[in-house]
């Protein structure tokens, strides 16, 4: 009896504690984190959270910090590289201590930005300086809460030598031509024409970046809440069908379930794999892998999605992680100074072969073939992205998650029941139900 009473006391004590932890959030005073005008007046110690652990350990970040200190001598910058960035930062955001400058985790709902981050200024003011991709995702009301450091386009990274050996030199213009090209790679070179990276999963999620590319529609993302995203002719239909056909025609690796991302870079560089669908951020890593394997980094090529509108290819410019200032930071001016400096003065965009968020900055070298071929770059409107992610979570479809594409691959290789049409119908139904609930 006594023991039970004790357990009761403990449990109720625990419940009280649990109940308390829910409330008591500090009143948020948002004086904003505006760009400082006088560098000498800015001071303080700031902590910068980053997902680029490699740049922290190899000293690149410290080099940036040293350069930054020439302009802002009174600010001390400390870095914290986090391997599982999404998972860890999201949980830390339940407290006040999530660094002074951080990248906004994807799971934070856009409408909640003002609860976590200091505003960086008015949308109209910043629009003069930054590209639409740079500020589009961080907009709540008429204020900006996050600045995307740089943007990437999406396309197929490929080994030029292998494609040339297969006799394909021009970019395929339609999905059918693309499949023919892969078939030629398979028969003529023996390389694996396409690599899904099924096991690691996240590379598959970049297939959602076809949104806008196939139809060349800058408003494609905003149409998702009201339309069936997998209707015939839509971006996702075209992209997912291409993925399905690649696997169905056995143009991908024979055992997708034991793929390895780190290995795949070397395999592409050495020509054992011919093609992968990835963001243009991957070019720097692939070229690096080629150098390590003793190959010419110039053999790494990049091509847009095989679809044309009006005789032109389209590539969507998609923002990377957005930098933001913690609303609880005591040194907001210093934090903002760091963001401004890294965007305007550092070479991060060029090093990453990325498109700078600063208007008028030059395009990276890797995209030169794109400009030469007259590819249209479109800034995908993000006006309804909060609604899209709400429907996506509610429906458990996971447009930007790997699961449903893993299922498509399973069905295509005969390890799952159903057909592609069944999958599309099922996805569309879940999506429509959730959209109806989300209003």
């Amino acid at each position: 009896m006594k023991r039970r009473a004790l357990a009761g006391v403990l449990l109720s004590a625990a419940l009280v504690v649990a109940g308390c932890s829910g409330s008591g959030d500090a009143a948020t005073d948002d004086s904003g984190a505006l760009s400082p005008t006088d560098p000498a007046a800015v001071s303080g110690d700031i902590t910068v959270l980053t997902n680029r652990t490699d740049l922290v350990t190899d000293g690149t970040m410290q080099k940036y910090a040293d350069l930054f200190n020439k302009d802002y001598p009174n600010v001390k910058v400390k870095f914290e590289g986090i391997t599982d960035y999404e998972g860890e930062v999201k949980i830390r955001m339940n407290t006040d201590k999530y660094g002074d400058v951080l990248l906004i985790p994807n799971s934070v709902v856009t409408a909640d930005y003002p609860k976590f981050f200091a505003s960086l200024g008015g949308a109209t003011d910043l629009a003069g300086k930054y590209t639409a991709a740079g500020i589009g995702k961080g907009k709540v009301g008429d204020k900006i809460y996050g600045l995307a450091g740089f943007s990437f386009i999406n396309g197929f990274v490929y080994n030029k030598d292998v494609w040339a050996a297969a006799g394909v030199t021009a970019w395929p213009k339609t999905p059918a031509e693309f499949l023919d090209a892969l078939q030629a790679v398979k028969t003529k070179t023996g390389a694996t024409p396409y690599y899904t990276n099924y096991k690691d999963g996240w590379p598959l999620s970049s297939w959602s970046s076809v949104i806008g590319s196939a139809t060349c529609d800058a408003a494609a993302n905003d149409k998702l809440p009201t339309a069936n995203p997998w209707a015939a002719g839509s971006d996702l239909n075209t992209g997912d069908k291409l993925l399905y056909d690649i696997v169905k025609n056995k143009l991908s690796e024979s055992d997708p379930t034991t793929t390895n991302w780190e290995d795949s870079k070397g395999l592409l560089a050495t020509g054992k794999i011919a093609t992968m669908w990835l963001g243009s951020w991957s070019l720097a890593q692939m070229q690096d892998a080629a150098k390590k394997a003793g190959k010419n980094p110039d053999s790494i090529g990049y091509m847009p999605f095989p679809a044309q509108v009006g005789g032109k290819f389209c590539s969507v410019v998609a923002p990377d992680y957005q930098s933001a200032v913690n609303i609880h930071s005591p040194h907001k001016a210093a934090a903002r100074a760091w963001i401004d400096w890294i965007l305007e003065k550092s070479d991060t965009a060029a090093v990453n072969q990325a498109i700078s968020a600063i208007k008028g900055a030059p395009l990276p070298g890797a995209l030169k073939p794109f400009t030469e071929a007259g590819v249209t770059f479109i800034d995908l409107s993000q006006a309804d992205s909060a609604k899209v992610s709400k429907i996506d979570n509610q429906s458990e479809v996971g447009i930007s998650k790997p699961e449903y594409r893993q299922h498509i691959i399973d069905v295509a290789r005969g390890a799952g029941k159903g057909s592609l049409d069944d999958i599309f119908a099922d996805l569309a139904k879940k999506w429509a139900d959730a959209a109806a609930m989300a209003g």
Binding site: A14, G19, D25, K199, P256, N393, G416
Partner: protein, 316 residues
């Protein structure tokens, strides 16, 4: 206090009762005496409450909200999450996967019993074999998962070994929906066999040697010794292993999560919970699933204790 004293005097030997009364034993004041055990317990209790009861209480409170895991606002939604959970049978379908692990657990207990019995008797190199069998349990689960990723790879270790004996099954061990759970539960047998084995071995070695000698004199066979002496003596440990296996099979997580992230047919209940919580930001619903899993495991344990009551081993 009072009954302690009475017991104390009642326990005095009869002879002592006649002599002059001994000075009463010095007691510290009552409250301090009562407090002392709690003092020793406090560290453990603080840890237990901080890391077990508060998180569980938190989880239960989350399960009644629509919290997304990040937002500072949580709205109380009553039993909505539980209603949703029980009106979506597909969320429970994944328990079928647990059957593979349950079958594997049965195999694991039988094999562990077999090896433990053999190694209780005098066997050549028995310490070496004990070490070999226990070793896998010492390896970190993440490392095990990575090792077996290479093991099951196409043309990986398993395929090469099979090729040596001339077999070319040409199977995708993790890619075939009929095989993936067999492969994964095989890994868990490999990993946890050592633990069961050591538990059994420890229990078996506490069986008095006279019993074995008596059995030997009576001419009992090895099987008879196992059936009539070993098995009954270690029943509580077998019972414990069964409970652990059942709850373990229902809550399989790390090996399939690291090796497959639950793709294809390999999704387990806990993986599904994790995905809902962290991929789709449904922390409330995921908490409700975790509460239901907890309840199922408590229920099974309770039922099992009812069906197979744990009699105190009474050998001395």
């Amino acid at each position: 206090m009072t009954d302690l004293k009475t017991r104390h005097s009642a326990g005095l030997p009869a002879a002592a009762a006649g002599t002059a009364p001994a000075p009463p034993p010095r007691h510290r004041p009552g409250w301090r005496r009562q407090l002392t055990p709690w003092l020793y317990l406090s560290a453990a209790l603080v840890l237990l409450v901080t890391f077990t009861y508060i998180p569980v209480a938190n989880m239960i409170s989350y399960s009644f909200t629509d919290w997304d895991g990040v937002s500072p606002d949580k709205t109380f939604v009553g039993a909505d999450n539980y209603v949703e959970l029980f009106t979506r049978p597909e969320l429970f379908q994944v328990f079928f996967v647990s059957l593979y692990y349950l079958a594997a657990a049965v195999l694991q207990i039988v094999v562990a019993l077999y090896f433990a019995t053999i190694l209780t008797f005098k066997t050549r190199f028995r310490n070496l074999f004990k070490g070999l069998l226990f070793f896998p349990y010492l390896i970190n689960g993440v490392a095990v998962a990575f090792v077996f990723l290479y093991f099951f790879k196409q043309d990986g270790t398993l395929d090469s070994v099979l090729a040596i004996v001339g077999a070319h099954p040409d199977k995708l061990w993790l890619g075939d929906p009929d095989l993936v759970n067999v492969s994964l539960s095989g890994v868990s047998v490999w990993r946890f066999l050592g633990l069961n084995f050591v538990l059994f071995l420890g229990a078996m070695q506490s069986i008095p040697a006279e019993l074995h000698e008596a059995a030997e004199i009576d001419g009992a066979s090895k099987w008879q010794v196992f059936r009539s002496i070993i098995a009954p003596s270690i029943r509580p440990i077998i019972g414990l292993s069964v409970i652990l296996s059942i709850s373990g099979s229902l809550s399989v997580f790390e090996i399939p999560f690291i090796m497959t992230r639950g793709f294809g047919e390999s999704k387990t209940f806990v993986i599904q919970t994790v995905k809902l919580a962290f991929d789709f930001n449904k922390m409330g619903l995921a908490s409700a699933m975790a509460v239901v899993l907890l309840a199922i495991i408590l229920l099974i344990t309770w039922a099992q204790r009812r069906l197979v009551p744990d009699e105190r081993a009474d050998r001395s």
